[in-house]
């Protein structure tokens, strides 16, 4: 058993996650209704997803393709033969009275995904993936207590949406690891174009299974009953819920000593406002889903060649991309992580920039500070960013050349962003002109003449005193390059007759 991340805790936290993601297809899994969030209730339905008598499902080719792509990126084995099964249960948001899912022959299994904390908060954690399978989503039931009715309202727009179910082994050892792993999974699926993983819109949903392994004084291991936590609506909630639940389980175990197997698996709902998990009503039957092969769908056979083609045709994964950026542009793992975390388009911008200025580190700094800040402030993505990579490269080039210093360059860039104008235009507008050699010489001589005390300090060995001249230089002419001013002033002072 791997060690707990928190070495001070008297127990090991054991967490497994079950993630459902909606696929980015145009249509639903078994019918041609649009796969779209936010439409008015029951406006995206047809006989198939309504489960009307006589309706039949037909598999969406693109959904299957995206599913195989996702599972391949998660290092899963893709099955050469897969089939679908009916999971039978009664619920108003499940119009057929069964969900078409996969039971004993899912299309993929036995993969893995690593959780790596770029800040080093925990050692890299490899989480094994038990299986990934393809199934349909159910509808939504809404209950409005305030409306004073005893009825629930059923909206079936969501029925039939393609879902990938990703089940991890219980390899996570802390709430922080879980959050990080989810972030990694989300990034991967977004990069692959498989899902937009938007928890607010329900295109990514998480349930967590957690229990504790507590070493007893005699060396044996006590295991608390496994709890399934539902109703977590953000990655932050997942972390908070798990943190809370772990503490709660330990307290409960200390008080009652109840262990795994003493009662059926419990389900608890996370209440984000109250910051606690609550036991949910125990279901009257530990559901017997009576799985059997779906007779309305035929199985899918894939040849080894077809599977290989899908694997090879995959876009670069975040993990591969991080490594490549760090290697190619000589930037830190942290920087690579930040850039990759922003998405493929931003990485493309960065790479274009880095190539133009031939300096990965400088490019990375400008990306993280100026570009990202603007994107965040304005709530836009890189494709809406007003200055192309060439424009920023232009500014950086001029700073390197010495036309102006970095902080001036930032001002220029900010104005380019606001006005949409080129570097040339902004520089001209702001009256920034490169200060000519003669002009600079004149100015420096003036400074030296005006600052006898500083001169005296420098002459007595305090070179750094020259820095005091820079502020005055800027006042005289804001376009001066501070570095050049310093250099020149020192030179001039050096040529003065010794005191």
């Amino acid at each position: 058993m791997s060690e707990s991340t928190d070495n001070t805790a008297p127990y090991t936290t054991v967490i497994g996650l079950e993630v459902h993601v909606q696929l980015l297809t145009k249509t639903k899994l078994f019918c041609s209704c649009e796969n779209r969030f936010g439409a008015p209730p029951n406006t995206l339905t047809c006989p198939v997803c309504l489960g009307l008598p006589g309706s039949l499902p037909v598999m969406n080719r693109e959904a299957f393709r995206l599913a195989v792509r996702a599972a391949s990126a998660l290092d899963c084995t893709i099955a050469e033969f897969t089939k679908w099964d009916r999971k039978n249960y009664f619920y108003p948001d499940l119009p057929k009275g069964y969900q078409i899912s996969q039971f004993d022959l899912p299309f993929s299994e036995h993969g893995q995904l690593e959780a790596i904390d770029p800040k080093g908060g925990f050692a890299p954690r490899t989480v094994r993936i038990l299986r990934v399978h393809l199934e349909e989503d159910a509808g939504k039931s809404m209950h409005d207590e305030a409306a004073g009715t005893a009825d629930s309202r059923i909206d079936l727009n969501r029925t039939g949406t393609p879902l990938l179910e990703i089940v991890s082994q219980p390899d996570l050892r802390s709430a922080a690891e879980a959050r990080c792993w989810l972030g990694e999974l989300r990034l991967l699926l977004v990069y692959l174009g498989v899902s937009d993983c938007n928890m607010q819109e329900g295109s990514l949903r998480v349930d967590a299974n957690v229990n504790l392994h507590i070493p007893r004084a005699d060396g044996s291991l006590a295991k608390t009953p496994i709890v399934e936590i539902k109703n977590m609506n953000s990655f932050r909630s997942v972390e908070r819920a798990l943190t809370y639940e772990v503490a709660r389980q330990y307290e409960e175990w200390q008080a009652t000593g109840k262990e795994l197997g003493s009662a059926p698996k419990q389900t608890r709902g996370w209440d984000d406002a109250a910051g606690i998990t609550r036991g949910q009503r125990h279901k009257e039957e530990s559901s017997d889903y009576r799985y059997f092969p779906e007779p309305d769908l035929v199985p899918v056979r894939l040849t080894a060649d077809e599977i290989a083609t899908i694997r090879e045709g995959m876009p670069e994964t975040p993990r591969a991309l991080r490594q490549r950026l760090a290697d190619t542009w000589n930037i830190s793992a942290y920087d690579a992580d930040v850039l990759v975390g922003q998405g493929r388009e931003l990485v493309a911008y960065f790479e274009a920039l880095a190539k133009l200025v031939d300096d990965g580190k400088v490019a990375s700094n400008w990306m993280q500070q100026d570009v990202l800040r603007t994107l965040n402030d304005r709530g836009i993505t890189i494709d809406a960013f007003p200055v192309p990579a060439e424009g920023l490269a232009d500014v950086i080039g001029r700073v390197k050349k010495g036309d102006f210093d970095t902080s001036r360059g930032r001002d220029i860039f900010a104005e380019m962003i606001n006005s949409g104008r080129s570097a040339d235009e902004v520089v001209a507008e702001m009256g920034i002109a490169a200060v000519g050699e003669d002009e600079l010489m004149t100015l420096c001589r003036e400074l030296v003449a005006e600052n006898p005390k500083i001169v005296a300090d420098v002459q007595s060995g305090k070179q750094q005193a020259a820095g005091g001249l820079i502020g005055q230089a800027k006042k005289k002419n804001p376009n001066v390059n501070p570095g050049k001013v310093r250099e020149l002033c020192l030179k001039i002072i050096g040529e003065l007759p010794a005191p």
């Binding site: 006989p47 309504l50 489960g51 009307l52 008598p53 006589g54 309706s55 039949l56 499902p57 037909v58 598999m59 009916r86 039978n88 009664f90 108003p92 119009p95 057929k96 009275g97 069964y98 005893a150 059923i154 079936l156 009257e284 017997d288 009576r290 799985y291 059997f292 007779p295 309305d296 769908l297 035929v298």
Partner: protein, 494 residues
């Protein structure tokens, strides 16, 4: 000649060359229904207005010189298990009383596109579960040959409306014999195509891996004509076969010389009515006269067919019928739903709605299927049945490597009195003895009249062919019908 006395082929030709109008044909059928169906109860819904409008449209089309569809003017009765947008679709159940689907079944759409005239929806055993049409929530169908007797089922209404000349042809569905057996008991011809030959889209599902829609008429040729229209690939049915549809009616001429027909001695064991056995044996002689040779064969696992079927079909049905829960369509209880006997008002609503909406046979099969699939029983029952299914299919593959067709009885008895078997569900299930294996193996089968009992009840003969063997099946049946007159007899009231 009366339109109701014409074959489908002749009627369609008469409409095409103007000897008859579509309206005349439809009106004749409607008149016949008015005269006869009060007693027979073959129709659950007659669409007088819609049918006459459709017929008038066909006549207008002809008058305008627009090419007519291959079934132009043909009156068709459609089993109430197929969705029709403009007519109720009840499956003869209180659960779907008054239900109107927002779409047409693929078969219905094809019939309309072929300019056929759908005159109404025919009675059936509730949700296609039965072999006597006594399980209808809207009264049994009476056999046109003897009103005190059952028609067989579940496509009893479809068989009876053709037998009584209320409709030239009809559409039924067959899951374990539900076209072939009532055809046999009503003296008409009925075809169960190869699984996947006709789209199941819009057929209210009973047992999805066994159900097939098929034509019924007075002759194999008429069945072939209808099959040409309703067969074909449907991309919206994943189990639909992507194979070209032959022109069946143009493939009937070749004699049967060289064709080998299998005879299963076990079919003639204990339990078969002697008059039926005699007529079926005579049927083999007719086929010999047509040029075929008869060979004894064995289907070793056929005796497990009924047990296999009565595990698989109810299991699939228990799942297919879960959607009838009173939430989105169909019957919802009006009881208050506040009792403590249930876990919640919602659960009570489900339980009461379904108990009120389903008849006893449907409940029995839903219970049986739920049990067979439930935890702990799946391997012993459902999975085992799927394994035996493979053995049964292998029997057919082996048999068809030796013979081209398999002949024999379609029912052990002729039409039985209404009420005779309703107290013993198991006895009713055993009526499917000769027909279930066709569905389990996914192959094709046809039944047609081969004689009558001393008391004037029809006796049916069944031929089975390999998958996609409809051309040979229809040809052999057609040959039989050129050499015999059984299929031309009509009930006394006709």
């Amino acid at each position: 000649m009366q339109p109701t006395e014409l074959s489908a082929i002749d009627l369609v030709a008469a409409v095409a060359n103007g000897d008859l109008t579509a309206v005349e044909c439809t009106q004749a059928a409607l008149d016949r229904i008015d005269a006869t169906d009060g007693q027979t109860n073959a129709f659950l819904h007659v669409d007088r207005e819609g049918a006459l409008t459709a017929a008038a449209a066909v006549d207008a089309k002809r008058a305008a010189g627009t090419p007519l569809g291959p079934l132009a003017g043909l009156p068709v009765g459609v089993k109430d298990a197929l969705c029709t947008r403009d007519m109720p679709t009840t499956c003869a159940s209180k659960m779907l009383e008054g239900y109107r689907p927002p779409y047409d079944a693929d078969t219905v759409a094809r019939l309309r596109a072929a300019d056929a005239v759908i005159i109404g929806k025919t009675n059936m055993d509730e949700f296609a579960m039965g072999a006597s049409n006594e399980n209808s929530a809207f009264g049994p169908v009476r056999n046109p040959w003897d009103a005190t007797r059952a028609t067989g089922g579940s496509s009893g209404g479809s068989a009876a409306c053709v037998a009584a000349s209320m409709s030239t042809v009809s559409i039924g569905s067959d899951t374990g014999g539900s076209i072939r057996q009532p055809a046999g008991l009503c003296g008409v011809t009925g075809l169960k195509p190869t699984y996947g030959r006709v789209s199941r889209r819009g057929l209210v599902a009973f047992a999805s891996s066994l159900d097939q829609i098929g034509p019924m008429g007075h002759s194999a040729a008429d069945c072939g004509l209808v099959l040409e229209t309703i067969a074909g690939h449907d991309p919206l049915d994943s189990t639909s076969l992507n194979e070209p549809v032959p022109r069946y009616t143009e493939m009937l001429e070749e004699p049967l010389a060289g064709i080998k027909i299998g005879r299963v001695p076990a079919h003639f064991g204990e339990g078969i009515d002697p008059e039926v056995a005699a007529a079926v044996e005579e049927g083999f002689r007719v086929l010999e006269a047509a040029g075929a040779t008869i060979h004894d064969i064995d289907l070793p696992h056929a005796k497990y067919g009924v047990a296999t079927y009565y595990l698989l079909a109810p299991s699939e049905a228990s799942s297919n019928l879960a959607r009838y829960d009173g939430v989105h369509y169909g019957h919802r209880t009006t009881e208050p739903c506040r009792s403590d006997a249930f876990d919640s008002p919602l659960v009570e609503m489900y339980c009461r709605s379904r108990a009120e909406g389903f008849g006893p046979e449907v409940k029995r099969r839903v219970m049986l299927g739920t049990y067979a699939l439930s935890a702990g029983y799946y391997d012993a029952y459902y999975k085992r049945a799927l394994q035996v299914r493979r053995l049964i299919r292998q029997d057919y593959l082996d048999a068809f490597s030796k013979v081209d067709l398999i002949g024999g009885p379609v029912s052990a008895t002729p039409a039985f009195p209404l009420g005779e078997k309703t107290d013993d569900p198991l006895a009713m299930y055993l009526l499917d003895l000769y027909t279930v294996t066709t569905n389990l193996a996914g192959v094709s089968g046809i039944s047609f009249p081969c004689g009558f009992t001393g008391s004037g009840l029809p006796i049916g003969y069944q031929l089975q062919a390999p998958a996609l063997g409809e051309p040979l099946l229809l040809r052999a049946a057609d040959r039989f019908q050129r050499l015999t007159e059984w299929h031309r007899r009509r009930p006394p009231s006709a």
